[in-house]
């Protein structure tokens, strides 16, 4: 049981990063369907940083702080660049958001596989993957006293720092959106940019900032996946459909990062539950893997039927804002 909860959290955290980032972006009125690509690029960015440092310094001489900071920074810079591409296209050039986002996903996966493939070649391994166990071990450093606290320690304190960071970021995002002036302004930009503009809010600035911050957060989800979930092993296309699950989680949590924490745990549980049910056929396993999407559809049906305005997507989501268009 404890094992199940631990696996559930580790499955859920990448989704939580992705959907927190996407919620912040969508609150500014931008539907970033590039999130899967951005998470993928965030992952490969971290892998590149870790690979260069691990090979440059040698696994034995690695400084813990650098081993964590270098991949972290590389990952953040790469996903920031992806966010900037998306912003420039959709905010400044007012390109169609859906098309841009989907293109960015294709692009991000391509970039990831290209660099992943190149690194695999460089490492000259006999399996098609990159092994960064040394770096991963630094990322997986846990609280030393956790194992002395029994079940409580195992369930709540046995994770790496990135897992806690993800939850803190989600809580902070929820607080900022709900309780601060910045949050109020950001929400007004996503709901009704013309009104925000008339009230003297810099719409472009808010859109850029929220999309870029959202992209960086989403990219960390990719990094967490590689360094923690996958034990530092990169293989091309290993990320699966976690990016799309993150986007589904945004709808599931009705655009609230704090609910996304619970949602990500539920999604994580649904993703692995088939491993804990004995004697399942292959087809039944695949059916169970579908349940997160099913849950999203059920939430959509309920939310649409109740039709509470607070639970609807931001009103201007997906629409470009152009001041002179009246």
């Amino acid at each position: 049981m404890i094992m199940f909860i631990q696996r559930m959290v580790i499955q859920g955290i990448p989704l939580l990063y992705g959907s927190t980032g996407e919620i912040i972006t969508e609150k500014s009125g931008h539907l970033n369907l590039g999130i899967p690509g951005i998470m993928y690029v965030g992952a490969i960015g971290g892998v590149i940083g870790a690979f260069l440092y691990e090979n440059g310094a040698g696994a034995a001489n690695m400084v813990p702080a650098l081993a964590i900071l270098i991949p972290l920074l590389c990952s953040m810079v790469c996903s920031l660049l992806m966010g900037l591409i998306y912003c420039f296209l959709t905010v400044s050039l007012r390109a169609n958001q859906n098309v841009t986002g989907l293109a960015l996903t294709t692009f991000g996966v391509g970039i990831g596989n290209f660099f992943g493939g190149s690194l695999i070649k460089l490492s000259a391994a006999d399996v098609p993957s990159i092994n960064l166990t040394a770096t991963s071990n630094f990322f997986k450093t846990k609280l030393p006293f956790a194992k002395n606290l029994g079940a409580f320690g195992e369930i709540f304190l046995s994770y790496s720092f990135l897992a806690y960071l993800g939850i803190i970021i989600a809580l902070v995002a929820a607080y900022v959106l709900r309780k601060t002036r910045t949050g109020l302004h950001l929400r007004s930009v996503g709901e009704n940019p013309a009104t925000a503009d008339a009230a003297g809010i810099n719409v472009t600035k808010y859109k850029y900032l929220s999309t870029c911050i959202g992209s960086v957060i989403a990219g960390l989800g990719g990094l967490y996946y590689i360094m923690d979930y996958a034990y530092g092993v990169w293989s091309n296309n290993g990320f699966g459909d976690r990016g799309w699950l993150s986007v589904a989680l945004v709808i599931f949590s009705t655009w609230k990062p704090d609910i996304a924490i619970l949602g990500s745990m539920l999604f994580g549980a649904l993703l692995i539950v088939q491993n804990y049910i004995p004697n399942l056929s292959m087809s039944a396993q695949e059916l169970i893997k579908m349940t997160p999407y099913l849950a999203t559809i059920i939430v959509l049906v309920i939310v649409s039927a109740k039709n509470r305005k607070e639970n609807q997507p931001p009103m201007a989501l997906g629409l470009s804002y152009f001041r002179e268009e009246r």
Binding site: A199, I201, K309
Partner: protein, 510 residues
């Protein structure tokens, strides 16, 4: 004598090369005074206020605030001079509460504290007698509550000069009385208030002074206590201008379309037409006059089968046989299949009339796509029609396949009117067909309508320029807030008569 709150000297504003929105306007507003700006549609009232509130910048002239010349280039500048404007279309975020909307964009009053802000909102409300719940969400509010939020938003920012753009257009008479009570309180507390309206009785009720604009020109300012409805109407509509439109006598007028006791809601469920009854006759042009938004659009859309009617009926009399067909609850397609050739030139040309990203030929096919057999389109006929329209109506376009969105307004309208006339209609309805068109294009459209009239078509023309209506139409029906306030003979009536009918308030609450 204190310093005036706002003084305008010779303000002129032009859009493009030819459209003069304001010409040499001079105005003075004092603190503790309500100034009403009166004028027809398109007389430049809103443009004038937009210049004071920093949305537009005047081409010529000076603006003085508290006796000092100022340059107002943005809404923020206007706030700096304690000027606040309440627009006709509210700028509010639906899912936010009243307080959240009121403090939106304010950066400078310290810590973000929604409770303190909502206390201040309550204080302001109590001071002037507003009724408001600061925590209520905008989407749960009535129009009048939303307006209250907009007014408090301006007061919250400390405005001393308030400008309201047609605040009563969306209010019921009871709500209007409440608003006026609040405005009087503000006036007593020393604020300067400018209000735009075209309802004469409201002007006489609330204002201290009235400034009249006509087609962008400043006519004059009078003290409300020294004037009356007759004088104001004359200032507003001016002397009759004779236009050089040929008007032939109606050709053998017989009843073609009988609209009886029509009641209709708009899309939000508000009643916009009540008990409209009239007859359109073949071979004549029936003009429809009224303040914009009095229900003209809904009337035409209901006849065309685009909107459901609540009660009432539309009868069509088949010209050849005299048989009566009932058009109620029929879709445009059903009407067409009944063999009734009803053409409609909607006011929203590129929205309802044409598809902007398609060429002239493809737009022609929107009316004829059902012709022909098989799954392939037949392009020859629409192509020929498009070429004919381009040639005969002198449409300036690079080719018949250029997206119509790229054409100028006049040419777009020619394509639309050309297509509707090519269907050889027996009833032709046109809503503001010359809006935004230059003088030559306008005359071309008038001539086309006249030609249709000579061919025995029943033409219904919704217009805004009274001179055109008087020069072009045979009869004019005036609509005031959804009811017919009169049907007059265009040859014998006067602008004053129509102006009075347009502004006549039918008391709904009596």
């Amino acid at each position: 004598m204190s310093v005036p709150a706002i003084e305008l000297k010779n303000i002129t504003k032009t859009f493009g090369k030819s459209v003069v929105a304001n010409k040499n306007v001079c105005l003075t507003v004092n603190y503790g005074e309500i100034l009403a700006i009166l004028g027809e549609n398109g007389s430049g009232k809103t443009t004038l206020l937009n210049m004071i509130s920093g949305i537009y910048y005047p081409d010529e002239g000076q603006i003085f605030v508290n006796g000092e010349e100022v340059s107002i280039t943005s809404p923020k500048d206007a706030f700096k001079y304690k000027i606040g404007m309440i627009h006709q279309h509210f700028k509010l975020v639906d899912v936010f509460s009243a307080t959240e909307n009121i403090i939106l964009g304010l950066e400078d009053d310290g810590k973000y504290d929604i409770k303190k802000a909502s206390l201040k909102v309550r204080e302001i409300a109590a001071q002037y007698g507003f009724e408001i719940d600061p925590d209520k969400k905008i989407y749960e509010m009535s129009v009048s509550e939303k307006q209250t939020v907009e007014i408090i938003k301006v007061l919250y920012r400390g405005a001393d000069i308030l400008m309201l753009d047609e605040p009563t257009a969306v209010l019921t008479p009871q709500e209007t009385r409440k608003l006026f009570a609040v405005l009087r309180k503000m006036k007593e507390s020393g604020k300067a208030i400018v209000i735009i309206t075209h309802k004469l009785h409201e002007v006489l009720d609330i204002s201290d002074k009235v400034a009249v604009l006509r087609k962008g020109e400043y006519i004059g300012t009078v003290n409300t206590s020294e004037t009356n409805e007759g004088q104001l109407t004359e200032m507003m509509v001016g002397k009759k201008v004779t236009l050089n439109i040929d008007r032939s006598d109606p050709v053998d007028p017989t009843d073609r379309l009988i609209v009886a006791h029509l009641n209709c809601m708009n899309r939000d469920g508000f009643k916009v037409l009540s008990n409209v009854t009239f007859t359109a006759k073949s071979g004549e042009i029936l003009g429809i006059a009224g303040i914009a938004g009095s229900g003209q659009r809904e009337l035409l859309e209901t006849i065309a089968g685009l909107q459901p009617m609540v009660t009432g009926g539309v009868q069509y009399i088949v010209p050849e046989t005299g048989k009566i067909e009932f058009l109620r609850d029929k879709t445009p397609l059903q009407i067409r299949e009944m063999g009734i050739r009803l053409s409609f030139v909607p006011e929203d040309r590129l929205g309802m009339g044409l598809v902007g990203s398609m060429g002239t030929v493809d737009n022609m096919m929107l009316r004829s796509y059902r012709k022909g057999k098989g799954i392939f389109l037949r392009k020859q006929e629409p192509k020929a029609l498009a070429d004919k329209i381009i040639e005969e109506l002198e449409v300036v376009t690079p080719s018949a396949s250029t997206p119509v969105r790229r054409l100028s307004g006049g040419n777009v309208q020619k394509v639309l009117v050309g297509r509707e006339i090519a269907a050889a209609p027996t009833v032709l309805m046109a809503a503001y067909p010359v809006r935004g068109l230059d003088i030559n294009s306008s005359y071309l459209i008038y001539n086309l309508l006249n030609e249709q009239k000579k061919n025995g078509v029943a033409v219904i023309f919704v217009g805004e320029d009274l001179d055109v209506l008087l020069g072009l139409c045979d009869r004019i029906m005036v609509i005031g807030s959804g009811t017919v306030t009169g049907i007059v003979d265009a040859r014998t009536t006067t602008k004053e008569e129509i102006g009075l009918l347009m502004t006549k308030e039918v008391r709904k609450d009596a």
